[in-house]
């Protein structure tokens, strides 16, 4: 096996890993409001979203090898660079997931690739005007447009159903949410799975196993990307779902339906008018809007502020990770460089995963009362069943990392 083929295999694995993080990072976009309002059971919601993402991934035919088009100089793309960019995207996705912040997966990926490009050839390899006009400005616009549409939709819905008894309206709105949430999931699958397909496609072209004129990637690329994003979605990014559905705004079903309709409309229209806006920013904006538009509604601006900060630092942070990864892989070089780069990615991911287990957010406690932060109050409630049954230690190992859980229980008890 030559070194290029070895690198290609690593890039493909890393790209699928990114697709997987993309899936669970964005489950909340489509499903957070349905889960929070009780329209769908948490497990049912992620299953529905996973299926629709899978379908959506197969529906996308215009696979563009273009995530980086207009952002970096196309002639300098190497497998090392793509790998470093993907690492930047994955690490940033995992970190923001740990903190429960819905940030854009595309921004993380673009940040990683731009960072790796700067590391590879310097800042002149980046087309900065493209970064501003295709990434930064649309991000701001996405949030603003979605807030406006989401707020007006929510206000309208509450105004129209004023005086209607809660019990007669609730069921209808929950059904409405099934439709609106499904649309967002489908739109997400068509858009986001495509990005990873594009990356793998690009890597295959750069390796030379696919003609540069090919319009469609090989079938295995489409199938594996679709499966990766669906599996990620089914895993459910509970931490982010919790922030979007409970932390930012307390979502009731009329708000949820309005927010999702607004998201679906803005996402589909933006792709129709050729001005692609990020799913995450649109969905977050709609949720904010639904808090603004509900009479007497409340938005936790502190949570929103933290989120905006995360959006602002996404590009530079993912870029830094991408750049450092590129240096490591490139300076060590050859097989050792690729192996060490990949091992570091696995190690960092493992550390973040372990941290996330300390106070776990899952389908059981995702809707628990918001007490000031993502995990406040959860370390007790998530351990409620063992307390009830009185068989504490016997039940715990099913959560994995039993020893760690035991220490947390001990701390709480004292």
């Amino acid at each position: 096996m030559n070194i290029q083929l070895f690198l290609l295999i690593i890039v493909v694995i890393t790209a699928l890993a990114f697709d997987f993080t993309n899936g669970f990072h964005d489950t909340g976009n489509a499903m957070a409001t349905s889960i929070a309002s009780g329209a769908l059971k948490p497990k049912a919601a992620v299953a529905l979203s996973a299926v629709l993402n899978l379908v959506g991934a197969f529906l996308s035919t215009a696979v563009a090898a273009t995530i980086a088009k207009g952002l970096i100089d196309a002639n300098i793309v190497t497998l090392e660079l793509v790998f470093a960019g993907l690492v930047g995207g994955i690490v940033w996705n995992l970190l923001t997931w740990l903190l429960g912040i819905p940030s854009s997966s595309s921004h993380a990926l673009i940040g990683g690739i731009v960072g790796a490009t700067i590391a590879a050839v310097g800042a002149h390899g980046v087309i900065w005007s493209g970064v501003v006009s295709k990434v930064l400005i649309p991000a701001v616009l996405a949030a603003i447009l979605a807030i406006v549409v989401g707020a007006i939709a929510t206000w309208l819905v509450y105004r129209i159903t004023r005086g209607v008894p809660h019990k007669s309206s609730e069921k209808g709105f929950r059904r409405g949410q099934w439709g609106s949430a499904s649309l967002v999931s489908l739109a997400h699958g068509t858009g986001d799975a495509q990005k990873t397909m594009g990356i793998i496609f690009l890597a295959l072209m750069s390796y030379g196993s696919v003609s540069k004129n090919a319009a469609m990637p090989p079938l295995w690329v489409i199938v594996s990307c679709a499966l990766a994003i669906a599996a990620g979605t089914y895993l459910g990014g509970w931490r982010i779902i919790r922030t979007l559905g409970k932390g930012l705004v307390e979502i009731a079903s009329p708000q949820g339906m309005s927010a999702e309709s607004s998201s679906a409309a803005v996402i589909l229209l933006s792709s129709h008018f050729g001005y692609a806006l990020s799913t995450t920013q649109v969905c977050t904006g709609s949720v904010l809007g639904s808090g603004v538009g509900k009479p007497g509604g409340e938005v936790r601006w502190g949570v929103a502020g933290r989120m905006v900060v995360a959006w602002l630092v996404t590009l530079p942070s993912a870029g830094l990770v991408g750049a450092v990864t590129y240096w490591i892989v490139h300076l060590i070089g050859g097989y050792p460089g690729a192996v060490i780069g990949f091992s570091l990615l696995v190690a960092v991911s493992a550390v973040i995963y372990m941290k996330s287990r300390k106070v776990k957010v899952d389908h059981k406690n995702v809707n628990a009362e918001w007490e000031g932060s993502l995990t406040a109050g959860l370390d007790d409630s998530s351990r409620q069943p063992p307390h009830d049954t009185g068989t504490q230690v016997g039940v715990l190992p099913s959560r994995g990392f039993g020893a760690e859980d035991d220490t947390v229980v001990a701390e709480n008890a004292s």
């Binding site: 400005i137 159903t161 209808g172 339906m257």
Partner: protein
Amino acid sequence: MSAWFNYEATLKILLFGMLAGAALPGLFALGIRLQAAGAGDIGTDGSAPRRNPVLTALAWAIYGLVLAAIIIGVLYIARDFIAHHTGYPFLGAKPK
């Protein structure tokens, strides 16, 4: 349209976003209101609630309209796929 900021697309997204993203849920809410009224759940002037089948039928007509809009939305997402596999320029998609 400037090089930095696509005014035209932004305004279009805002305008049609209002129609699809705000007016449509509003319409759905109207359906819910009519259904509740049709079932006699909303007491208008303190009189005993009365069923009104006309309002109920109207409510279901509105639901049908909203459902149709969602189906069009799904078909729109799938338009390239459909055009690609049937060769028919579906919803403006170019068959490739």
